[in-house]
Amino acid sequence: MNAEALAFYALAAMVLVGGFLVVQSRNLVHAAISLVPTLLGVAGLYVLLNAEFVTAIQILIYVGAITVLILFVILLTEGATGLRVRQRNEQVPLALLVCGTLVVLFLVVLLRVPWGPPTGPMPAYNPGAVGRSFLIPYVLAFEVTSLVILASLVGAIVVARREG
């Protein structure tokens, strides 16, 4: 086992264990906190995938902003007090079945696919490549996404505002 493999398995474990904790923790705060290693693990995987820019953004946005946001909302909605409250609903067995089936199916599929070599070389400088992509081929997506941000900002403020 080389370094890459080791790193990979470690990060994969971080992701999956963290994910497990997210969906299984009784305590919501624990669940929210568990998001951090999960997302960080994902970021690490990005590094291994030579996606430095995405890693950065992942950490900035996901781990930084979204996790905090979730924590805030948990605290605002008193979900932290619900230790005695049941957290799982009645669908557990069925959900297990369905998810299990789906995962198995995905694995079957991806294992059957004959992965060939990549079509070209990875660009050396990541951010530059991303930037160029955003501004030339996918400029429309870029602009629309910014609009979406605007809309959601406004919407969130409107929705979450206190009445009166």
């Binding site: 609903n89 669908q91 069925l94 959900a95 369905v98 998810c99 089936t101 789906l102 199916l105 599929v109």
Partner: protein
């Protein structure tokens, strides 16, 4: 004259038409129309008759009425010795009876109706006599049958009259039907209804005449069969046994009706027909049809005479006497006494009409028909008595009255051709004298007894009121003689009863026989080598003796009361009620045919009500049941199906409703599961 003979029936027919429409308005003058018509017919008829007497050839006129292939229906009339002498008799005797009726029926509310029917009758009778085709004869025959019915029931408010008219019509109908079948058989066989054509064909024999019919197990010659079928009509109309039962009851009609129709003319129609259609009977194998005629006649004569002996009603005695004398005539014809039988027909018309009219005069005077309630009337009704006596002597066959000559002729023929018939007819002659003498004794001799209850009036006060008349008052005094309008015809007929017989005196004819024998000839006799027997004095004396013996016995029993009639009645025991009740033949017919018919009718009615109506109701019931079933079907099956659709839909809806839990996570689960399914399936395919 003969060419105008077709008018003879038309005068009375016109009289009928006038009286039918204007009779009521004419009132008392109505009879003159009828008498006038009869006078005209008499004039023409006697003219034609005298022509025939003078030797004129027979006059024939015919026309074809309808043609069907080779068959024809003809009508026409013939003026020959037979038809002309009969017409002469009918118009004369009929005319006298009309005159008599003027007096007899005076005061009756339906005076005009009486003469109207009498006129129609004469029209029919004259048509029948003059006809030379079976078709036209049948028309006349039916008319006289109808008029008989109408006139018997003239006093229509009397139930007994209604019963009598129905009995007469139905009984004669039996005979008429047989006759109709016979005529149809002749038509079928010969393709014509013309007398001449048929008689010629029968005489010649040949294949059509010698055809044979299979009946049951027997083979009957068609000629004989048709003759006997045709004879059925005369059996009914002329009151021969066994269809004689209607004649005594026909006495319900007014006396002039009895005289004209049931003595002189209509009942004679049967005899006339046998005489007219003599070839039909003569040309059968061994003259077997004539044998039947003879025996039917003889039997009738004897039985009727026996029954006459036990009757107490003056008209009933005369009715049975008529039946008996008609039997004599038939017997005469049957034993090859063609002229003898027809001669007796003519003489009988005179003295029988006379007897009936005189009886009517008696009834008019004493208001009863029962001879036991009469007696000694010769003092009160002298003219009636002497004329009745003349008729009586003629009927009994006493020299020199008419009946002696005609009856003796028949006995002569019987003696020569059928001795058994002669014996029976002689016995009948004895009985005839006996019962007539009894009648005379009870009615005119002895002391007057008077009716216990006078006959009730046949009409209601309303009938009189409607005619503008008053109901008659009858005093209960001594009987008195009838008016001249009634006694006049009596005298005339009495003279006739004496004189008419003279044409039968031997030696009056050219070949030594009597004139009547010469006048009424049957050609077939000469061909067959049959000669009329010559007059025999011993035989004549014997028949005279028989008649006188009868009178003597009656005088002893009823006149002098040497042997009381009650003792005789007790001595004969059950015979007397047997005869008095008409040998129970009427009762038998009543039980078998009348009750049988009514039972059948009741049975058919039961069938109609229960079976036929039952079926109809069943159909209705089935329809109702079917419609109920259908309704059930509609409610449960059809509506059920409709409801089922709705129910299923609702059921499905209710089943699927829980899917809408309102919980998003449920929906996502389902979506995820679906996704999994799709992937699974597509993987499977690959």
């Amino acid at each position: 004259m003969a060419q105008l003979a077709w008018l003879v029936p038309l005068f009375p027919l016109a009289s009928y038409a006038v009286l039918a429409f204007r009779g009521r308005a004419l009132g008392e003058r109505a009879p003159y129309v009828a008498i006038g018509a009869m006078a005209l017919s008499a004039l023409l008829g006697w003219g034609a008759f005298l022509e025939q007497v003078a030797g004129a050839p027979p006059y024939v006129w015919r026309a074809v009425w309808a043609v069907g292939g080779e068959r024809t229906l003809t009508v026409g009339y013939t003026v020959d010795p037979l038809s002309s002498i009969t017409v002469a008799m009918i118009t004369l005797v009929g005319g006298l009876i009309f005159v008599y009726s003027v007096g007899y029926m005076r005061g009756d509310p339906y005076y005009a109706r009486f003469f109207a029917f009498l006129s129609l009758f004469c029209a029919g009778m004259l048509t029948m006599v003059l006809a030379n085709s079976f078709l036209l004869m049948l028309i006349g025959w039916e008319i006289i049958g109808l008029c008989s019915y109408l006139l018997i029931g003239f006093y229509f408010r009397r139930r007994s009259a209604n019963m009598a008219q129905m009995k007469a019509f139905l009984t004669t109908r039996v005979g008429d039907t047989l006759m109709l079948v016979g005529i149809m058989a002749l038509f079928w066989q010969f393709g014509t209804v013309d007398y001449h054509a048929i008689f010629e064909a029968v005489r010649e024999g040949g294949e059509s005449a010698s055809a044979v019919v299979r009946l049951g197990g027997w083979e009957v010659p068609l000629a004989t069969l048709s003759a006997l079928l045709v004879f059925g009509g005369p059996v009914g109309k002329s009151g021969q046994f066994p269809l004689h039962v209607w004649l005594p009851d026909a006495m319900e009609g007014p006396t002039p009706v009895s005289a004209l129709i049931h003595a002189a003319t209509m009942v004679a129609a049967g005899v006339y027909l046998v005489g007219r259609a003599y070839p039909l009977f003569f040309y059968t194998p061994h003259h077997e049809a004539l044998a039947v005629v003879a025996w039917v006649g003889t039997l009738t004569a004897l039985l009727a005479a026996l029954m006459a002996l036990a009757q107490d009603d003056i008209k009933r005695v005369l009715a049975y006497s008529t039946i008996s004398q008609l039997g004599f005539m038939m017997a005469g014809l049957g034993v090859l006494g063609y002229a003898a039988g027809l001669f007796h027909l003519l003489t009988h018309a005179f003295f029988k009409a006379l007897l009936f009219l005189a009886a009517g005069s008696v009834i008019h005077a004493v208001r009863t028909n029962n001879i036991k309630e009469m007696g000694g009337l010769r003092r009160f009704l002298p003219v009636t008595f002497w004329t009745f006596l003349a008729g009586f002597l003629a009927l009994a066959g006493v020299f020199p009255f008419a009946g002696f000559w005609s009856k003796d002729e028949i006995l002569l023929e019987a003696y020569h051709h059928a001795p058994a018939v002669y014996a029976l007819l002689s016995a009948t002659a004895f009985l005839t004298a006996l019962y007539m003498s009894r009648l005379v004794a009870y009615t005119f001799f002895g002391t007057y007894r008077g009716p216990a209850h006078p006959e009730p009036d046949p009409w209601t006060p309303e009938d009189y009121a409607r005619a503008g008349l008053h109901p008659p008052h009858h005093g209960h005094g001594t009987p008195h003689e009838s008016p001249r309008v009634m006694t006049g015809p009596l005298v005339a007929l009495a003279v006739g009863s004496l004189v008419v017989g003279f044409v039968g005196i031997p030696g009056t004819g050219p070949e030594g026989g009597s004139w009547i024998h010469h006048f009424l000839k049957f050609e077939g006799f000469k061909e067959a080598g049959i000669h009329a027997p010559s007059f025999s004095w011993p035989l004549a004396l014997r028949s005279l003796g028989v008649a006188l013996a009868g009178i003597a016995v009656a005088w002893l029993v009823y006149g002098l009361r040497a042997v009381p009639s009650e003792r005789i009645r007790a001595w004969v025991g059950p015979v007397y009620p047997f005869l008095r009740n008409r040998m129970y033949i009427d009762a038998l017919y009543g039980w078998v045919f009348v009750r049988g018919g009514l039972l059948l009718a009741a049975g058919l009615r039961w069938f109609d009500v229960h079976v036929v109506d039952g079926l109809v109701n069943l159909v209705g019931g089935v329809t109702v049941v079917t419609s109920r079933l259908h309704r059930l079907f509609d409610t449960y099956v059809v509506d059920g199906l409709v409801n089922l659709v709705g129910w299923v839909t609702r059921g499905l809806g209710l089943l699927l409703r829980p899917l809408q839990t309102g919980r998003a996570y449920n929906y996502i689960l389902v979506a995820a599961a679906g996704l999994g399914l799709i992937v699974l399936v597509s993987l499977w395919r690959l």
